[in-house]
Amino acid sequence: MSMLALTVVVYSLVTVEPNLRKMALNLNNIRMEEADVQSWLEKEGYKRPLYVQYTEWLGNSLQGDLGHSTLFREPVNSIIFEKLSHTGILMFWVLITMIPSALVIGIVSGMREGSKTDRSLSFFSIVTTATPEYVSGIIFTVVFASWLGWLKGVAKAGDVTLENFTLPVLTISLYGVGYIARMTRASMAEVMTSQYIRTATLKGLSFRSVVLKHALRNALIAPFTVIMLQFPWLLTGVVIVEKLFNYKGFGWLLVASADDNDINMTLACALVSVVLVISTQLISDIGYSYLNPRIRFK
């Protein structure tokens, strides 16, 4: 339902009149007459009512045909899956570095609220949430690529090496780390003040086993949903970082096609991202009820 509504919005925004005219000029001849533009649009079927075009596009995409890209002059399907796999590799490494480090930071600082470690780690996470990807990425490039010369300032797609991947992965994950760590810290701190933790401590259990066995499981429920709901945000980060490091993945594709008025490609990118976001929301709901037995129906 919401997927349908979103694609309608995207479709009508992509096919507004000036965009179509620009596409016609790009595809044929820049110095084309206005009358020729109109007749070309007529011929290609862009003059029909919006809902007719939309249902046609929807029907085709449901059958797996996303149309023809005007920018790459190839079917959309063949390109988009290749680019998605490049981004998938990147995201895999991002998640692998981001989630464990964020959880560890959050747990360590929430364990003893108000201590010196907590204060400095909290400050660190505020700093990371305050630096967007295009700031941290550039600062990393300046430091590691220009001054020290250790790593490269551009990343080639599909080439998984340390030199290639460190900077983009570090940049994306750093922005997310602070946010997830703060959520983990808040939920950990709340759990640590609860009655059952006091009982466990009073029973004479060691601090380590209180934290690891009693607090951890309950404290991780909130961060889990946060991580899942962060997906739209991560997608934005991916677009910025892929543009910054010229990594030819999904985000780069989105930017390139939107810049070039490539209607079918932009629609496909929008469709894919909306599907991704909504499916992660679904997973987060299911996972939440799995982790938290209280809201499960008997």
């Binding site: 979103l6 507004v16 700093v127 949430t129 630096t131 997608l235 677009v239 991202s273 909306v274 976001v277």
Partner: protein, 396 residues
């Protein structure tokens, strides 16, 4: 070519910013003296983190106001002799140094950084304010009444939130969209909310005194309507009237450039669903309190309860959220600049500066630093301020 040493650069930097330092210390001193009367903001002086945040925010606030007095060059002035110079190079003609170097068109990066704060400090708080008014006007009834209204509004809010922001901007902030009436329609819808909000507010307060209510409503409709048509549709009635009297038909008192209106409307569109969700959640929570039940028993009408019982009691979390959200909008504006969307290529805003200079980091590594550090520090200041406020509001 003469250059300043690193130490000299920083001495120049601190001394040329003297009006800003004076203003900051004056404000903070006055604030400290009267801290007992300032409520939550007075408590800020007890927290180190909050003070640091306040300091950074005040720095950029005064830098934006005093930009003309502080900057050594004009932000758009191109000095072709000095292109892509490292920090500290001295302009031989005027003797003034380029403190942070120059960009690829020979514009002084320090002056551009200072002037760039103007764009951000006008658009970001204003857009956040409008987004808050939209979110509050819709979130209060959604949380208070619930039911179908809540279901519909929440569905729309979730729809917008499920949309990756970057995709939204790539679709909304384009020259193609700007040629259509869509930005005006969006702004027309969003700017309507402050007027409605003010009217409801006055109505809820002065229902027993019809004369006061009538007067206040008329003032709101007149001023609000003038601003509304002037800003959203570029139809400034007063400006046109005075303009025809003095023979200058292009005179406008209030006006936003079409591209800025487009950015503004898109940012409000992307931000208000988040505010809506928070206000709705707070309303659901506060609705169960005893004082709301007492007001209901007294027979107060719903608008009064929402505006005068629930909203004032939700102000703490809302102020904290507003600080964070101004920072978030700043990041969004930077993203727009970074992708070169919607802004004039000449404009000295931080995002565009980052985008224009980042191609030259191999030649002059420091060329991107002024804009990036300015943006990060401002957002950091807002985050620290929000953190300090939250910490202090939890104490009492």
């Amino acid at each position: 070519m003469e250059t300043l040493s690193t130490l000299q650069i920083w001495i120049w930097f601190f001394s040329s910013l003297w009006p800003v330092w004076c203003a900051i210390f004056l404000t903070m001193g006055v604030g400290y003296v009267f801290r007992a009367r300032l409520g939550l903001f007075g408590h800020l002086f007890d927290s180190g983190v909050g003070m640091l945040g306040l300091f950074i925010c005040l720095f950029w606030f005064f830098a934006a106001i005093l930009a003309d007095a502080v900057a050594l060059y004009e932000p758009l002035e191109q000095i072709v002799m000095y292109r892509r110079k490292p920090p500290g190079v001295i302009n031989m003609e005027t003797g003034l140094p380029f403190l942070f170097g120059t960009d690829t068109l020979g514009r002084d990066l320090f002056s551009r950084m200072i002037h760039g704060s103007r764009f951000v400090l006008i658009i970001a708080p204003a857009a956040t304010l409008v987004a808050f008014v939209v979110g509050i006007t819709l979130g209060l009834p959604a949380g208070y009444f619930g039911g179908r209204l809540d279901a519909v509004l929440s569905f729309i809010a979730n729809l917008v939130l499920a949309f990756p922001v970057i995709l939204l901007f790539y679709l909304l902030v384009t020259p193609g969209i700007r040629e259509t009436v869509l930005p005006n329609i969006m702004a027309g819808v969003f700017f309507l909310f402050p007027v409605i909000f003010a009217l409801i507010f006055v109505r809820a307060r002065y229902l027993e005194r019809p004369l006061v209510m009538l007067m206040a409503s008329m003032v709101i409709v007149a001023v609000g309507g003038w601003l509304y048509f002037g800003l959203a549709f570029d139809y400034d009635v007063l400006g046109r009237f005075v303009g025809t009297l003095i023979g200058d038909p292009s005179l406008r008192f209030v006006r936003i450039e079409p591209n800025e209106l487009n950015i503004f409307a898109s940012v409000v569109f992307a931000t208000s669903p988040g505010v809506f969700r928070i206000v709705r959640g707070l309303t659901l929570d506060i609705k169960t309190r005893d004082y709301v039940a007492a007001a209901m028993t007294r027979g107060e009408r719903p608008t009064y309860i929402m505006m005068w019982e629930i909203l004032p009691n939700a102000r703490g979390p809302l102020i904290v959220d507003a600080c964070l959200r101004v920072g978030y909008v700043t990041i969004l504006l930077g993203t727009l600049g970074f992708f070169g969307l919607g802004l004039h290529p000449e404009s000295p805003d931080w995002g565009s500066m980052i985008n224009q200079t980042r191609g030259y980091i191999r030649l002059v590594p420091t060329i991107v630093l002024p804009a990036t550090i300015a943006l990060a520090s401002f957002v950091l200041g807002l985050n620290l301020l929000a953190d300090g406020l939250r910490e202090q509001s939890l104490k009492d």
